[in-house]
């Protein structure tokens, strides 16, 4: 009798801990990444802060239900008439106050005569720690040819694959 009772309890605990894992896409659309001039030849750091909206993934989702986060798409665009003709390469990183900085995507070299580019996402970067914070900082290093007095703003569109337990 005792044996069956223990077995039932173990089964119950097992069922409770094995929630169904669900995957959804989380998007950050048309966010402005900016850096103040003057800018010097070489890598310059554009930044944007984004407040994570877990309700956009699933109503009432809690940060501790998230199991894995991967960047799956990173697009950078510009309204500037010269496009990205003065950019040698882009490197994208993510960080937040209590999580490590992760390098998540790169494009090297950047082709000429384009106003929108897609960066190649890292196959291994894990962003779970960053998504368990309230906000993330997106850091885009743009390797600029020549100096410039002006500020620089690019628009970013990002997609993340979120795996979470219901």
């Amino acid at each position: 009798m005792k044996y069956y009772f223990l077995l039932s309890i173990s089964f119950l605990i097992l069922c409770c801990s094995c929630g169904e894992a669900t995957k959804k896409t989380y998007r950050i659309n048309q966010i402005d990444l900016t850096v103040e001039g003057p800018l010097f030849d070489g890598p310059n750091t554009l930044q944007a802060t984004h407040v994570i909206d877990l309700n956009a993934i699933e109503p009432n989702l809690k940060a501790d239900q998230i199991e894995a986060v991967k960047l799956i798409k990173a697009n950078i665009s510009t309204q500037d008439s010269i496009g990205f003709n003065n950019i040698r390469n882009f490197v994208l990183q993510l960080t937040s106050s209590d999580a490590k900085m992760e390098k998540v995507a790169v494009l090297n070299p950047v082709e000429k005569n384009l106003k929108e580019v897609t960066l190649n996402p890292s196959a291994e970067s894990e962003l779970l720690d960053n998504f368990q914070q309230k906000e993330i900082i997106l850091i885009l290093d743009a390797d600029i040819e020549g100096d410039s007095e002006n500020n620089l703003t690019y628009q970013g569109n990002f997609e993340f694959e979120i795996t979470y337990k219901k």
Binding site: P43, V91, T95, S97, M101
Partner: protein, 150 residues
């Protein structure tokens, strides 16, 4: 009297916070490791400190004739990241007493990342200690500030 006391307390806490920030920001600047192969600019992003390579003694890879990239990165999808601009020091927080901790240092020559602690021994000198596991099992390199402060 009560108001005066409150004001004094506010001023004191503000001053302490300001002093702490100023002390922590002493780390900002351009530094050169002992091998002289690179120069690293330390910046602040949020409340943490990061160091990126801004100058390389040999910026061109003799095998490709192109600017050097992070060819030893264990993540193959990131091996085209250029070394110039690479953040080799990441996520340092100021502990007080001229020490910054909780960060990592990346060695592009072997693609390894180590835990790291930074100690400022004087205004122009840093002891950068990289280690695996415990601090005692590590190696210290001495970095010098490029534009010396008096």
């Amino acid at each position: 009297m009560k108001q005066l006391l409150l004001l004094s307390l506010l001023w004191l806490s503000h001053s302490i916070g300001f002093a702490q920030n100023t002390e922590a920001d002493q780390l900002l600047g351009v530094w050169e490791p002992s091998n002289g192969k690179a120069r690293v600019k330390i910046e602040k992003i949020g409340e943490k400190y990061y160091g990126k390579i801004v100058w390389l003694k040999e910026p061109i890879d003799p095998n490709t004739g192109q600017p050097k990239v992070d060819k030893n990165n264990p993540d193959a999808s990131l091996r085209t990241v250029p070394l110039k601009g690479y953040r080799m020091l990441k996520d340092f927080k100021y502990l007080g007493s001229n020490q910054w901790d909780n960060g990592t240092i990346y060695d592009p020559e072997n693609g390894s990342t180590y835990k790291c602690i930074i100690k400022m021994t004087d205004n122009n000198t840093l002891d950068i200690r990289g280690y695996i596991g415990v601090e005692a099992l590590g190696r210290t390199d001495v970095w010098k500030r490029l534009n010396l402060k008096k």
